[in-house]
Amino acid sequence: MRRRKQLSRLADEELMPLVATKDPDAFEVFYERHAGAAFSLAHRIVGDPGRAEDVTQEGFMSIWRSESGYDAARGSVRGWLLGVVRNRAIDAIRRDAARPAPALGLDPAQILDRRPSRTSTDSEVLRGETARELRGLLGTLPREQMQVIELAYFGGFTQSEIAQMLGTPLGTVKGRIRMGLEKIRAGLAEGQS
């Protein structure tokens, strides 16, 4: 218990080398720190709490069993984990045979509206505040930029699929993604300054 308390004081970047050595206490601290974000993202993508549990479990266990471990060049620890969970979630929805192909007239609004109900607890208020701030930032994007970004990130569609789905030239989709991400990045930089 005392060791876990000590571990909980470590920064993510200090914790991950211990996780890589298969230290279960370090892994537990890592889980407690990021499970909320990972589960929330998984739920947002797969749209079902049970499947979100499976996806989150797969994501954490793949990191626990990984031989390569965290590499700081991949970004923040949380960003890296969310990337792993996001990929697992996209794989899960791709495996779903019920998912219609873009060419069959999928309504992008159906994907963008697939939002979970709010069930945050007191312990997640701080993270909720941060998420709210980020949502505020994303809310400043023009709708057409946010649409392509959400279809790519949450829907798992490639830029070509999005272009086909929206009936928009591929170059336009690429440009919207680029401009949208740059605007988010600039907003983050402003927030840090």
Binding site: E28, A37, P49, T56, Q57, R86, R118, S120, G175, L181
Partner: protein, 227 residues
Amino acid sequence: MSVSNEHDGWRDAVATYALGALTETERGRLEEHLETCALCRADIRWLQPAAEAIGAAVEPRRPPGRLRRRVVGTARAEARPRRVSGGLERMIRWPALAAAAATTVLIAGLTVGYALRGNDGPMGSTVQAEATPAAPGLEAALVREGDSARLEITGLDAPGPAHVYQAWIRIGEEIAPSTVFVPDRRGRAAAAITGELNEADEVMVTREPRGGSIRPSTAPLLRASLG
């Protein structure tokens, strides 16, 4: 074409890459380019937090407590690698269980389950596992690719909070503990089999107390014969 002009040609692809929306082919081409373009690498580092922010901005939801038990419990169980030797009869702690195991061995050849068959491919091989009478609904295959192997199982019951499933590697009369795992909600599991398989006769799975066991304490539920 100057370095700067060439970089400009990749700018949109870099943004889409950060978002994870390139096809495999497109991603491969860009990653090849990244090896020689410091500007594009810097561009990705700059945009990466923006892509991360999208994932971090979702409405918070609290993960259920059972998920913590599944994830942390499995990790704790797997963090205890141990190796023991001895005959199968010595692996079983109690006489009743020894009898059950012996029964399983005796009737294994008569099991109406899943026929053993090898399915070798250029990249590896797949061995269908045989469910024992203790778990007739299980379906499993041991997939070997190079030096790694994983056991893919469907039809597993939830082991309950006090138990896990554990894989074992038998080499002659020696049985070594391998991965401890729990299935997902649909009764599926894909367990990486840790341990030496080159000389192994079979891989088995038993149900064990949480944390795993140093030797099997229950009769095998399935076997994948490698001999």
